[in-house]
């Protein structure tokens, strides 16, 4: 049987730490980390909650490549 799961991935150096994704996510999948990226911003990291692949974080993020949401299908 096919099993689908979703995963959000953050590219640390493309994030500016604005927190828009954090407040947009309906499942609290994201939070702002404490480490700084090479631009000097804290960046979003995953909390461990399960992502539902809604894409809200991607839509609200102002950065072109900071967020990628993938669907992983396993057989």
């Amino acid at each position: 049987m096919n099993k689908k799961k979703f995963e959000v991935r953050i590219a640390p150096d493309e994030c500016k730490g604005c927190e828009r994704c954090v407040i947009a996510c309906p499942r609290n999948v994201l939070k702002l980390g404490t480490a700084l990226n090479k631009l000097g911003f804290p960046y979003a990291v995953r909390t461990g909650q399960e992502c539902i692949g809604c894409g809200g974080c991607f839509l609200t993020c102002p950065e072109p490549g900071a967020i990628t949401v993938v669907q992983i299908e396993s057989e």
Binding site: G17, G53, P62, P64, G65, I67, V69, V70
Partner: protein, 492 residues
């Protein structure tokens, strides 16, 4: 086994790497953290990629924070002077109807300095998609009051809050544009919550679809965050957009008539130089002289300043224009400066013409003129002091012969108005006078071989000025030769 599929990721509507952006950072955009421009850029990039229109889309960058948008979008980009994006967009859209033109503008650009431009473009129903970023502030310059700043909102230039009694009310752009007949689609959205961003995404795609279908003018206003200048975090920013801004600028569709409109078709322009020439000059212009033509005569070594005067309606301005045209056709730098204003209403009319081999400083001839052409007594009296001591006077003696006090000058004269009347219309007087100019030049300045060329150049100038009608050209050329035959010099 696991299979991965990207649901949401970096759009191919952006360049893979922002090579146009100076400095080492080639993956991020230059906007501040949380800025609405980035959200909108992503929606546009996604749409132009999805619709397969990257190769024909032109995005016009405004003056404002988005001035560098051409760093990012993988399509054509051009920057326009402040507020002029709709004018540039109009030119692009009309000249290249196969292209899709996006005018991307902020509130300072669109609603302040360029407000008339956007209204006129909207009113003409240009085939454009306008994305209007309304963040209630001047972002790039550091947070000054914008036309869309809310009542009471504090900015650098409204430290006590915008007062509607002194600064007026925020401009409601969507409402204003929707009130016009031509636009097909106007919607206001907010780049705030995910739900609202999805609506904005839909609106942007709809506006672009209208453009693709050539339905005309679409405008999407986007309430957008400028968290840096408003000193707000993401949560407060969304709250500001959804509660405070949307209260003044209600979200929603203000107009949508795209379905009932036929695609616009406009006459296509003509861009073939030869075809343009034939349209403009139905009478064949003599082939003219080579580009490098330089008349070696002495008269043309230095700048020649000509003053023409008469009463309004005598054709003073067009005579000046013909002289300037003549110079232009022989590779001079020329200027033609008509005088406008109350003096033109029934009083004396005048214009200044300068011919020069060098660049022209002032186009106004108010002293030291080389040639004064006076069509009546009062204007002669007024402008005689501007004539150089050894300058030449050309006088229309139809209304009386030359006054005695000027008889010490070099004078050419003829009854130009009378001759024109005999030809059937007073308006030929200026071509008659042109004939007198030719006589004067032949007498005083031109060498043999130049003389024939100068007849031709006068004929060409007449054709150039009266190109629209063949018989008008013919009559004016006839008038020119009659002037040539009748002009005489009355003093040595």
């Amino acid at each position: 086994m696991e299979k991965e599929k990207i649901l949401y990721g970096r759009s191919n509507g952006f360049f893979p790497s922002f090579e146009r952006r100076p400095g080492p950072i080639k993956t991020n955009m230059h906007y501040c953290p949380g800025c609405g421009h980035g959200i909108l850029h992503k929606l546009i990039a996604e749409a132009i990629d999805d619709f397969g229109i990257k190769d024909k889309t032109i995005i016009i960058a405004p003056v404002g924070c988005a001035v560098f948008s051409y760093y990012y979008f993988d399509c054509f980009g051009i920057s326009a002077p402040h507020g002029r994006a709709p004018a540039v967009a109009t030119g692009l859209a009309r000249a290249n109807p196969e292209n899709l033109v996006i005018s991307y503008q902020g509130d300072g650009d669109l609603a302040s300095i360029g407000f008339n431009h956007i209204l006129q473009a909207a009113n003409r129903g240009e085939n454009l998609a306008v994305f209007f970023v309304n963040n209630a502030i001047y972002g790039m310059t550091g947070g000054q009051m914008a036309p869309t700043t809310l009542p009471g909102q504090k900015t650098q230039t409204s430290p006590l809050g915008r007062s509607v009694t002194s600064e007026g009310y925020p401009l409601k752009v969507s409402e204003t544009v929707a009130a016009l007949d031509a636009p097909v689609y106007v919607e206001r959205c907010a780049l705030s919550t995910v739900q609202n961003i999805r609506k904005a995404r839909h609106a942007i795609r709809k506006a672009l679809t209208n453009s693709i279908e050539r339905k005309g003018f679409s405008l999407v206003e986007l309430l957008s965050g400028c968290p840096v200048n408003l000193k707000m975090n993401a949560r407060d920013m969304n709250e500001f957009l959804d509660n405070q801004m949307s209260r003044y600028f209600p979200l929603g569709v203000y107009k949508d008539t795209a379905d009932s409109r036929d695609p616009i078709s406009r006459p296509t322009g003509i861009y073939e130089p030869q075809a343009v020439r034939e349209l403009l000059y139905p009478v064949r212009v003599a082939d003219g002289v080579s580009e490098s033509f330089r008349n070696p005569s002495r008269i043309f070594q230095s700048e020649r300043r000509i003053k023409l005067c008469g009463s309004g309606g005598q054709g003073v301005l067009s005579l000046g224009y013909m002289l300037a045209t003549m110079g232009k056709l022989r590779n001079f730098n020329v200027s033609w400066l008509p005088s406008y204003g109350p003096e033109m209403r029934g009083g004396t009319a005048n214009c200044s013409v300068v011919l020069s081999r060098d660049s022209i400083g002032s186009p106004l001839v108010s002293k030291e003129c080389n040639l004064l052409i006076a069509l009546n007594g009062p204007s002669l009296e007024k402008y005689l002091p501007t004539l150089k001591r050894n300058g030449i006077l050309l006088y229309d003696e139809s209304n009386g012969s030359c006054p005695d006090e000027v008889l010490d000058r070099v004078i050419y004269t003829l009854p130009a108005s009378d001759l024109a009347k005999q030809l059937g219309d007073l308006k030929y007087a200026n071509s008659v006078l042109l004939g007198a100019v030719a006589v004067m030049m032949c007498d005083l300045f031109l060498d043999e071989e130049d003389k024939a060329d100068f007849d031709r150049v006068f004929e060409e100038a007449i054709m150039d000025c009266f190109h629209e009608k063949e018989h008008v050209v013919k009559n004016n050329i006839k008038a020119f030769y009659i002037g040539k035959a009748n002009a005489r010099r009355i003093r040595n």
